[in-house]
């Protein structure tokens, strides 16, 4: 049973790694076709989605006693830093989103989310935020090694 559990954890984290590395991994890495983000908005989406995957993975590991409360708090702290960076990058490059997120959900928004002419430093800010999320992902992923 313990061996089965280890194999499942490894498989789950491998799948999560593929999802989480989408921002930095060339298309097609790992045998799964991953569309590499080409635009600022696409990179933002990858950042937010990876943030969700890391938090949800940590929640599952914590709920089942694989990581301690301190580890879970540490993951949350790391992902919160990345999330703050993503929010700042969104405010910089996609200023209309702030009001849109507060608007009623039935208001459809099919127009482009981000500016076509980005302010100076916006891309670098976004890269830093995604880097912080990647670090949190690496931290969560390290528990796989602890299980083997």
């Amino acid at each position: 049973m313990n061996r089965t559990r280890t194999m499942i954890i490894a498989a789950v984290l491998a799948v999560a790694a593929l999802a989480g590395n989408g921002c930095t991994t060339p298309s097609g890495t790992g045998g799964v076709e991953v569309q590499k983000p080409r635009t600022y908005g696409q990179s933002l989406i990858y950042g937010y989605e990876t943030h969700a995957v890391v938090n949800n993975t940590a929640a599952t590991l914590a709920k089942n006693g694989i990581i301690t409360k301190d580890d879970a708090v540490r993951v949350l702290g790391m992902t919160n830093i990345g999330r703050s960076g993503l929010d700042a990058a969104m405010r910089t490059g996609c200023p209309a989103m702030e009001a849109y997120l507060k608007a009623p959900k039935d208001q459809r928004g099919q127009e482009p989310a981000c500016l076509s002419n980005l302010p100076p430093g916006a891309v670098e800010r976004l890269q830093l935020a995604v880097g912080a999320i990647d670090q949190a992902f690496t931290f969560v992923n390290s528990f796989k090694k602890g299980q083997q």
Binding site: I9, A52, V53, N56, G109
Partner: protein, 70 residues
């Protein structure tokens, strides 16, 4: 650490569910990007909103689990 059979089963189900969710995320994001690239435009406000909401929900999930831990 010794887990009971029930705990092991819960763990397996939880992690398989997480793996499915991670894979679904990968597919969803890839599909969105592929579609927007084919259309020759950037992601829409709706695309980004969905990702922000999933990110928000994950914070609540992890905070709730942490709050329930000793």
């Amino acid at each position: 650490m010794k887990l009971t059979t029930e705990q092991q089963l819960a763990l397996i189900l939880g992690l398989v569910g997480q793996g499915v969710e991670a894979f679904a995320t990968l597919q969803r994001v890839s599909a969105t990007i592929q579609q927007r690239n084919a259309e020759g435009r950037d992601v829409t406000m709706d695309d980004l909103r969905g990702s922000v909401e999933r990110s928000d929900a994950s914070i609540e999930t992890l905070e709730s689990v942490i709050a329930g831990m000793k």
